[in-house]
Symmetry: C2
Subunit: 168 residues, 2 copies
């Protein structure tokens, strides 16, 4: 029998304790650590789902970025959004274009620029995957009441709004 990895809750407790001991502020670390732990778990579940769809996590990141943006994006923007080097995006887009999930269209106004957009097949893949992941995500929040979800969302969105000021 494999020695099981500690539970997410136990990992969270230890992580906060470690950061506080290292000089971090507790209220900050409780939030940051929880956010990161949650994302990590979600990523693990998504990875599991994506195997079935024969899409890598990196390719999926491109598809979701395009879907969420609603607009066409340039390779550079996609690289930044998906935390990858611009040169890596070239190959990713080659593969995605080969499979007919995205499309490259040169910008008529600026010939150094290329716009990448989802094809119908790309949108279809997105829809299928979303329907799968929404099940998991709802399940994750099941222990929160409607009011609590709303409050959680509100607080997180305050933080999100702040990100732009820091970035500048």
């Amino acid at each position: 029998m494999a020695r099981s990895t500690p539970s997410a809750q136990e990992l969270h407790r230890r992580a906060v304790a470690t950061y506080v001991k290292a000089g971090g502020e507790e209220s900050v670390q409780r939030v940051i650590t929880a956010v990161q732990g949650l994302t990590k778990k979600l990523d693990q579940w998504y990875a599991h789902q994506l195997v079935d769809l024969d899409v890598t996590a990196g390719e999926w990141a491109v598809v979701t970025s395009l879907a969420k943006a609603g607009d066409a994006l340039t390779p550079s923007q996609l690289a930044e959004l998906t935390n990858v080097a611009p040169s890596s995006m070239t190959h990713r887009l080659d593969k995605l274009a080969e499979r007919g999930l995205v499309e490259r269209t040169p910008d008529a106004e600026n010939r150094t620029r290329i716009y990448v957009s989802l094809t119908d097949a790309g949108w279809q893949l997105f829809s299928v995957a979303i329907r799968g992941s929404d099940v998991v995500e709802s399940d994750v929040l099941q222990d929160l009441s409607d009011d609590e979800r709303g409050e959680l969302a509100r607080l997180l969105e305050v933080v999100i709004a702040r990100l732009d000021d820091i970035d500048a």
Copy 2:
């Protein structure tokens, strides 16, 4: 002049709208999308800091996992915690051991198992990096009152606790 990537807040709004249109529940997507967006931004800042320390994001993930666990971990556990294939961990640990940041000690009880632990140099690197990142993290939460931070942490920890039940 480069066409700037949309603000984090704008990206969040569009992402939620996209997911809701695709059939996701709004209260769920507001939370999940915000959590993921926040993590992504944090990762970008960390990456920037880690360049100065000459450590890759993957190597940093190993160091923090060991620090947060407080105990020695096996390569397999580290692979799972850092979302990487077990075979990749071998090379990462080689590099980290070469630099004297981690140490491999065979388990006397089970000779198929190896324990990886932080060296003093590894702990030192951890401390230095933490002091740097805590600044950014505190800044991110600056728009929340003490009460709000506590409430945010509490709600997130309810979600974290739930993760274990889903995993089982």
